[in-house]
Symmetry: none
């Protein structure tokens, strides 16, 4: 499984294509470097780009917990898939992002592709500059989620 590290400012061209930074491509296994799924993030005003591997992993998790014959689960599934798109890199290493997804995150020209473990977030560049938490708030959250004695973590 890929791990994406780093954030990169990129341009959206007039046809809605973005070049995938080579650094990200190099962080992927050789046989799975040009196939992605993109969708709107659940919590934030950005897109999430999944490698097809990670997408399939997310899908397995969802299939394990979601029953389409349950009304509420059905609704979750529909909203999860709404506005997804499957992407491939072209020979110039670009991917064509559906205009309606770019519009959803108010991206016009400059975007940031931000690695986040197994996925890449795509932000309008101006919005990305504003998103950080205050340092002390993040420190508290980090301790809450990851703090505790080392044995607790490895259990």
């Amino acid at each position: 499984m890929a791990t994406f590290i780093g954030d990169y400012t990129c341009k959206v061209d007039v046809k809605g294509r973005i070049i995938l930074p080579m650094a990200f491509k190099k962080q992927m296994p050789a046989d799975a470097r040009d196939h992605f799924v993109v969708r709107k993030d659940i919590f934030e005003n950005c897109l999430v780009l999944y490698s097809i591997e990670d997408w399939n992993r997310q899908l397995e998790k969802i299939r394990a917990r979601i029953n389409p014959y349950n009304r509420e689960h059905n609704k979750f599934l529909r909203n999860f898939f709404k506005g997804t798109a499957e992407l491939s890199l072209d020979n110039s290493n670009r991917m064509l992002i559906p205009k309606k997804l770019l519009d959803l995150i108010e991206a016009k020209r400059d975007v940031v592709l931000a690695g986040q473990d197994g996925r890449i977030e795509i932000w309008a560049a101006d919005i990305y500059e504003k998103i950080g938490m205050p340092a002390d708030e993040f420190a508290n959250l980090a301790e809450k989620l990851m703090g505790g004695a080392i044995n607790e973590i490895e259990e």
Copy 2:
């Protein structure tokens, strides 16, 4: 099994035919690309298009839980099969949707074919634009169904 990703606006022609977007066809195994079952969705005002593979899988699930000699089960079965139709793609990659199913979902000219895991939903385009949950409501539902600490998920 196919996984359908992406949503596409398509036209219904005067004979009730819809072109299956090539992206969906490419998401299917080569030997099962032109055979579908369509029926009205259980919960929402849309149609569901099953690949024949996925239809058979749903049928197995149903056979495992539904006993036609039980009156209530019998009623479920009759309603589940009511208004189903088997479809094939023609040489122009179109499928003929029964007019009464198009009428059921108030589809006239513009429809959306929305991939959702193993199935494709067909919506009147104007209705599809209105179905999304507000972002925070969907975030809450996602957290409710898929959230929790990491150990809960992996259990």
